[in-house]
């Protein structure tokens, strides 16, 4: 059974290294500030006892006043998982750092989020629409899309 790591436990480790990067932590999730997303992700990936080498998926949820981007990480070696979240409040031009440098598997999924949710990922090598055509107005997965 994949062990679900306690978000609170990880949060405690993280606050030592990256003070004030954690917004919130729960039983199985962790919400980080979007400035420190990349640093935290790199820490989670590179720390040997955590070793989150596998990015299960990325998705985004629209909560009207902010976007929540969800990263689910696993470690194939230790067989544990963690949900990493970050918030993005800007509705006009939401921007987040891209994690493609850490996990190449994020490539198409970040493009998908850009296409359907309108979140820009900085540092992505090929940030353009994936399913819809260029010039499509709006981002259909947003809750206010008409």
């Amino acid at each position: 059974m994949t062990a679900v790591l306690s978000g609170k436990e990880i949060a405690r480790q993280l606050t030592e290294k990256f003070p004030e990067s954690i917004i919130e932590s729960g039983q199985d999730y962790l919400v980080v500030k979007n400035e420190s997303l990349l640093a935290v992700a790199a820490f989670l990936k590179d720390t040997p006892e955590l070793n989150f080498d596998y990015l299960n998926f990325i998705t985004a949820v629209d909560y009207y006043h902010y976007f929540e981007v969800v990263y689910r990480l696993s470690s194939l070696e230790h067989n544990h998982s963690l949900v990493l979240k970050t918030h993005c409040a800007d509705r006009e031009d939401p921007t987040l750092p891209s994690v493609t440098g850490l996990w190449q598997g994020a490539d198409f999924q970040e493009r998908e989020i850009y296409d359907l949710m309108g979140i820009n990922f900085e540092g992505h090598p090929n940030m353009k629409r994936i399913f819809l055509w260029e010039g499509f107005a709006g981002h259909p997965m947003r809750k206010d899309f008409r």
Binding site: N56, F57, T59, D62, W103
Partner: protein, 367 residues
């Protein structure tokens, strides 16, 4: 003498015999050699995730049928697992076993198509394809027996399965399980050691272990690269912890390994069906579930080992009758991440073989 050559762009697809649907690759070629490719998606985009936000939890199940339309049972199961996790629904024992049997049958059927289509891409003119469709037909007949459908089964429901199996199902399944290993041997004899196939598939399109993990590849593609990772054992869902089976892995991560892993997976699936069949208990097949499920506020992610890889459903509930957000983790899409790195420097013919060995369904990529 070095000839001066100039690359040219060739659009493969969206209508092409071996892009397995309406997938398009913008390939840049230098003669026969692939310089660069850019996959272009979206020709089958139906907005399933958006549609799901306007449907009831049970009303989404038919949508999941149409994602990876050659493994509908697995899609149904993944979605139902997510809803059950979200709403805390307990599934009766018999239904769990039936789910496992159906899911494994569906896996075999999907692998048959995958292997057949792969060999067809290698140029074996439809013979292996037709051989494998012959056996897939038997599986489809079995699944039709229980669900009345041949492609979009809509059989696994939240809280169990839609109906109990008819009495002629188990004898038919037993015959199938007894015969199938012989057929798999037949496929092996047909082409497994063929020199041309070895020449075409061995050492072609290597995906290294590190790259496979980094690209979040899953399923046979990941296992062919030598990673022993099967969600049925790593994170057992349903009742998979009760069955004994091996995880076939490859060593090199080339097209041949991916093909071999798929064939070996079929045998393991048969093993699971055999065990599930003998253990099948009597009892109800569906828990009492309200028509309109209102799960508590929260989120759940359930994943399973679909034929293509890790199929997951991420559901967010706001305590209404429809999910607030329904995200599908499409294994086909994510497995394609490494395609560009795998095909660069190979020939056009290899591009087709490598692409075929990844095994995608466009319905799932575009959703």
């Amino acid at each position: 003498m070095a000839l001066k050559t100039e690359p040219f762009v060739l659009n493969m697809g969206p209508v092409h015999p071996s892009t397995h649907g309406v997938f398009r690759m913008r390939t840049t070629l230098d003669g026969e050699v692939v310089v660069d490719i850019e996959p272009i998606f979206g020709y089958l985009h139906r907005g399933v995730e958006k549609l799901a936000e306007q449907r009831t939890y049970t009303g989404i199940i038919p949508l999941t049928d149409r994602l990876d339309y050659i493994s509908s049972m697995n899609n149904n199961l993944a979605y139902c697992l997510a809803v059950e996790k979200l709403a805390g629904i307990k599934v009766p024992e018999r239904a769990e076993y039936l789910r496992v049997i159906m899911a494994e049958l569906q896996r075999i059927a999907a692998f048959l198509i995958a292997v057949g289509a792969f060999l067809n891409d290698c140029g074996a003119f439809f013979t292996p394809f037709m051989y494998m469709f012959r056996e897939r037909e038997k599986i489809v007949d079995l699944l039709e027996m229980v669900s009345g459908q041949r492609l979009t089964y809509n059989y696994i429901r939240v809280g169990g399965v839609s109906q109990d199996i008819p009495e002629e199902f188990l004898p038919a399944l037993r015959t199938f399980v007894a015969q199938m290993p012989g057929f798999i041997d037949e496929y092996d004899r047909l082409l497994m050691q063929n020199e041309i196939l070895l020449a075409r598939a061995k050492g072609v399109g290597i995906l290294t272990r590190e790259q496979a993990i980094n690209c979040a590849a899953s399923g046979p593609v990941l296992r062919a690269s030598g990673v022993k990772w099967d969600i049925r054992q790593a994170d057992p869902y349903s009742i998979y912890d009760r069955f004994e089976f091996d995880i076939p892995t490859g060593t090199v991560g080339d097209c041949y390994d991916r093909y071999r892993v798929r064939v070996a997976e079929m045998r393991q699936s048969l093993r699971i069906i055999q065990q599930a069949m003998t253990q099948l208990p009597p009892g109800p097949v569906k828990a009492a579930v309200p028509h309109l499920i209102r799960p508590p506020v929260g989120e759940a992610y359930a994943h399973l080992e679909a034929p293509k890889g890790e199929l997951g459903f991420y559901l967010v509930s706001d305590n209404s009758i429809a999910p607030y957000r329904c995200h599908i983790r499409p294994p086909s899409l994510i497995n394609l991440t490494a395609l560009r790195d795998m095909v660069r420097g190979w020939k056009v013919a290899d591009l087709i073989v490598i692409f075929g060995s990844i095994d995608i369904t466009v319905g799932e990529i575009d959703r």
